[in-house]
């Protein structure tokens, strides 16, 4: 067992890990931060996306040891300082970009990385960027809309009543 320390959502967190412990296991099991999800074992679904030193990373493909000393941001760190939903989170709610919520943490973290890179992405750019995030519930329609809206672009409102 080795001790690792990382800054998670602005707080220094430490724990003992095995060499094979994945970052996602460290977050979920050692730190009990269960917002980050595991949806596959071939690093394809993106449910586990977090940011490590500002980069979107699939936390199921990184060892906890590799993140020693890093700045890690997870879904739990995405709210505003007052606890209200951040811009992307709010857009996901406003545009019904989630159903079961399981892919959602990864989607939000990927969306955040996309907008950092490309603040006004086109619909096509969003769809391409989300290649590594699978959602089985929404058909992606409202996820794409939510990300467009979060980037300040005009989108059609949700269902007419």
């Amino acid at each position: 067992m080795t001790k690792v320390t990382m800054n998670v959502n602005g707080r220094s967190r430490s724990g003992e890990v095995e060499g094979r412990t994945l970052l996602v296991q460290f977050l979920r099991e050692t730190l009990s931060m269960t917002g980050t999800h595991v949806g596959c074992d071939t690093s394809q679904c993106g449910a586990c996306v977090v940011h490590v030193d500002g980069q979107a990373v699939k936390s199921c493909t990184m060892l906890a040891l590799e993140a020693d000393g890093a700045e890690v941001t997870t879904i739990e760190g995405m709210t505003n300082a007052d606890g209200s939903l951040g811009v992307i989170q709010q857009a996901f709610q406003d545009y019904h970009g989630l159903q079961c919520g399981f892919c959602t943490p990864g989607m939000v973290m990927s969306a955040k990385a996309l907008l950092a890179e490309n603040p006004k992405p086109s619909e096509e750019e969003i769809r391409e960027y989300l290649e590594g995030n699978i959602c089985r519930c929404t058909g992606y329609h409202n996820i794409v809309k939510a990300i467009m809206a979060a980037s300040g672009q005009q989108v059609e409102p949700v269902a007419a009543e």
Binding site: E18, R20, R28, S32, M33, T34, G35, T36, H37, V38, G39, C40, D41, T42, Q44, C45, A47, T74, I75, E76, M78, T79, L85, Q89, F92, Q93, D94, H96, L98, Q99, C100, G101, F102, C103, T104, P105, V108, E123, E124, I126, R127, E128, L130, E131, N133, I134, C135, R136, C137, T138, G139, Y140, H141, N142, I143, V144, V158, A159, A160, E161
Partner: protein, 805 residues
């Protein structure tokens, strides 16, 4: 204009806040003190005899608590099947035992042989490597037609054959249908495969068993769509635990699509092992494990014949299907190709004679059961494909052929035993033609042509039977359970309400929509209403969520319970206002004596119910809590019309969906935003089936599509923005909300629309291709255009190994 937060409003979902902040509570997020972890050792061969299992090395490994085999479950029952089908000859279906751990024989890749429980997940996994199992591999049978031949390998030695049942429906119509087809002016015939799929909710299954020695009671946390059903099946049939000693909790569940309806061996294992080991036992499925242990869906091979008279009226329909059951019967498996399929074969049309024959077959594959739509997509697919083919053969417009044969008068009793209460098929057709800009297709076709692409447009209609119930009917049809729903509405002293429903949300948004209904009925703010579900300890008996039944059946139970609440509250108000209950009106959360300004707030009355100082105690009890059970009079019959527009690259065979429009009639709609989201998600699954997804086995029974590397899950770039409309509304006549259910529609109506569009594109380019099986991969489409095996030979081998074909 609907009231804010009331029925008809696109109220934002309250549950989103926890899901968006990482504070949801999914089963894998639960960890109990002292919990141990189980790792299942699964068969890597499709069929084999277990010669021996030597646990001694594994048992000595660090952290290992116990190695379980079938010997540990001698007192337990098998995993039960909830539906019994009777064959044409009057015999009941063959029903093999489905043990928790394999008893001497393994019957599919993934069949659990042994289970190792250790203090950590890694220790359990490490010990699994050391478990010595000697298996004699036996010949496996994958293909259904092969399985029915004499001399085929037998999946179960204890059965007479691999035929589970041979079902005819409606058997009395058989001869009349044969005659009508023989004498028809035109008969269109089509053979097709409804490809085997894997539901793939993004949350893999999880089970945690716990045992409380002091109370001698069990708790199971599980990723289920219906915790009460699991309690009943597991308690009564498998582990012999009375229901009052067994609590089943299904907290936040990350999608289901049918695959989390069934009772699975892992649930029974964890529940049982927790008692043996006196500590909680947790199992978290890996995705790879999910591919070979979650029930699969579809896998039908069908021949359909449609007879028409000289005026193009449909006169008869005959369909013959082989339905793959896999190696064992999953909970609802026998119902899917029969009652959820045969009863929908009339579709939206006035075909007077219909005959459906289904042979259900055991093979050495993972059990197959309901997947989003369950039987209805299979019915819709073959029907809408054959109607399109008939139009093409007769040289008439597929839109007009459908219009000519639509059912227009309701209620309508079909020749396949169901009665449609309401519908307006011309209305949804008109709407979909409008929103898809069907009329503008030619201009788009020209543009595609200019770019060297083929373009096609395809239409499909669907009808589905939802709100799965009524109990007396499904009982006659072989269901071993009732299919009602229940709800308890608990009004607290200060007026806030907790509704406990037997329905279950795994993404559908019950917490929001169910609250909208109750708030609207009473006239209070929706924030005053909380929805509780998923725990047998605090909700009344429930049958859960599947078959688009939540709002139609569970919602109706809640309405009935709320009506009882209102009736009682009105009596209390009458007493307090010194008026007759008949004169009391409830509006906007206030009780008023009609024609006066004498009025009480909701909270005044609820407080009186719990502080009954001034209260008619001799007439009514204090308190304000009511339960209702609701068992509907009929299924509901949502319907709709879908249009898909595709572009095909003739060089590569790649199909791109350029547009998709859906016009659905769900009856009344509680929350249009959520309804549209359900349709969009269903469309993605249906388009995925049509173009991408295939569960493929090789001839030896190895699962080739066993991870997201090989199973093509639809991604965001596979779709355009959808056009979804639910403004055509013919309310259901037999439930109090007039709702029909919307969860499965998208997955039911879309596959034939996509295939019809691709076939249309090919025909417009002069390729007279009658049919291409799903998934219409580039390779298959290219081969259809150019003949031969296609550029990607490996790809073809893989597809052709799709089990049923």
């Amino acid at each position: 204009m609907p009231k804010d937060g009331g029925i008809g409003a696109s109220t934002k979902r309250r549950e989103d806040v926890r899901f968006l902040t990482g504070t949801g509570r999914y089963t894998d997020d639960i960890n109990l003190p002292g919990q141990a972890y189980v790792h299942f050792v699964r068969s890597d061969v499709a069929h084999g005899r277990i010669r021996s299992i030597d646990p001694s090395t594994a048992e000595g490994m660090p952290g290992v608590l116990k190695v379980f085999t079938s010997k540990d479950f001698e007192a337990a029952g098998g995993i039960p099947c909830g539906w019994q089908i009777t064959s044409r000859d009057g015999s009941v279906m063959q029903e093999p035992k489905h043990p928790i751990l394999a008893e001497g024989v393994v019957r599919h890749v993934g069949d659990p042989i042994a289970a190792i429980v250790a203090k950590s997940r890694e220790q359990a996994r490490d010990a699994a490597e050391a478990l010595e199992i000697d298996i004699e591999e036996l010949p496996a049978v994958m293909n259904m037609r092969e399985a029915l031949k004499d001399g085929a390998p037998q999946v179960h030695d204890s059965l007479d054959s691999n035929l589970c049942f041979d079902w005819g429906f409606v058997e009395e119509n058989r001869e009349a249908v044969d005659t009508a087809i023989r004498e028809a002016a035109h008969v269109t015939t089509l053979e097709l495969v409804n490809n085997r799929l894997i539901a793939n909710p993004m949350e893999p299954r999880v089970a945690i068993g716990a045992y409380d020695m002091a109370a001698d009671s069990h708790t199971l946390y599980t990723t289920s769509q219906n915790p009460h059903v699991i309690r009943l099946l597991m308690g009564a049939f498998v582990l012999n635990i009375p229901e009052h000693k067994l609590r089943v909790v299904a907290p936040d569940v990350g999608g289901g699509f049918g695959s989390k309806i069934y009772h699975y061996a892992e649930e029974a294992f964890c529940t049982y092992a927790a008692k043996v080991l006196r500590r909680p036992v947790k199992w978290t499925s890996s995705r790879s494990e999910a591919f070979m242990s979650d029930a699969h869906g579809r896998d039908h091979v069908t021949k359909i014949e449609l007879a028409l008279d000289a005026d193009h009226n449909f006169t008869a329909l005959r369909t013959e299907t082989h339905a793959n059951m896999g190696a064992y019967l999953s909970t609802f498996a026998p119902a899917v190709p029969t009652w959820l399929h045969g009863t929908l074969m009339a579709g939206n049309y006035r075909t007077p004679l219909v005959y459906v024959n289904v042979k259900a077959v055991f093979t050495n594959t993972v059990p197959v059961d309901a997947y989003r739509g369950a039987g209805r997509p299979e019915a819709t697919f073959q029907l809408e494909r054959v109607v399109d083919k008939a139009a093409r053969e007769l040289g008439i417009d597929p839109v007009e052929l459908r219009r000519k044969n639509f059912i227009t008068e309701f209620p309508y009793a079909t020749p396949v035993a169901v009665e449609y209460d309401t519908g307006d098929y011309h209305a949804t057709l008109d709407k979909v033609l409008e929103i898809s800009d069907w009329a503008g297709f030619d201009a788009r076709l020209e543009k595609s042509r200019a770019r060297g692409k083929l373009r096609g447009i395809g239409l499909a209609h669907y009808i589905e039977a939802c709100g799965i119930a009524p109990s007396n009917l499904v009982g006659q049809l072989g269901a071993r359970a009732g299919l009602f729903e229940s709800a308890t509405v608990r009004v607290n002293a200060t007026g806030g309400i907790t509704v406990m429903t037997g329905s279950h949300s795994h993404g559908q948004g019950h917490a929001t929509t169910f609250a909208q209904v109750v708030a609207d009925m009473i006239g209070i703010d929706a924030s005053q209403v909380e929805i509780s579900h998923g725990d047998t300890a605090n909700t009344p008996m429930g049958m859960g969520t599947y078959g688009s039944r939540s709002i139609a059946v569970g919602g109706s139970a809640m309405v009935k319970a709320t009506e009882k609440i209102i009736a009682k509250a009105r009596k209390i108000a009458a007493h307090m206002l010194e008026a007759s209950a008949d004169d009391i009106e409830l509006k906007d959360g206030a009780f008023t004596v009609a024609g006066t300004d004498k009025s009480l707030n909701w909270g005044d009355v609820t407080l009186a119910a719990y502080v009954p100082h001034n209260y008619p105690l001799d007439e009514i009890e204090p308190g304000l809590e009511e339960t209702a059970f609701y068992d509907p009079a009929n299924f509901t019959f949502p319907s709709g019309a879908y249009v898909c527009e595709v572009e095909v690259d003739p060089e590569t065979g790649k199909v791109e969906v350029q547009g998709f429009a859906a016009a659905d009639d769900f009856g009344n709609v509680i929350n249009p935003m959520i309804v549209e989201g359900q349709v969009q998600g269903g469309l993605a699954q249906g388009i995925g089936q049509a173009l991408l997804e295939a569960c493929a086995y090789d001839d030896d029974g190895q699962l080739l599509s066993a991870s997201y590397m090989d199973y093509a899950m639809p991604r965001a770039y596979d779709f355009p923005m959808f056009k979804v409309d639910s403004s055509c509304r013919t309310p259901c006549t037999h439930n109090p909300l007039g709702v029909k259910g919307c969860g499965e529609a998208g997955a039911i109506g879309s596959p034939p629309a996509v295939v019809n569009a691709v076939i249309d594109a090919l025909h417009r380019a002069g390729h007279e291709i009658p049919h291409i099986d799903m998934p219409m991969t580039p390779n298959r489409v290219w081969s259809a255009i150019h003949g031969g095996a296609g550029p990607d030979k490996d790809g073809e081998t893989m597809e052709e190994r799709s089990v049923g074909a």
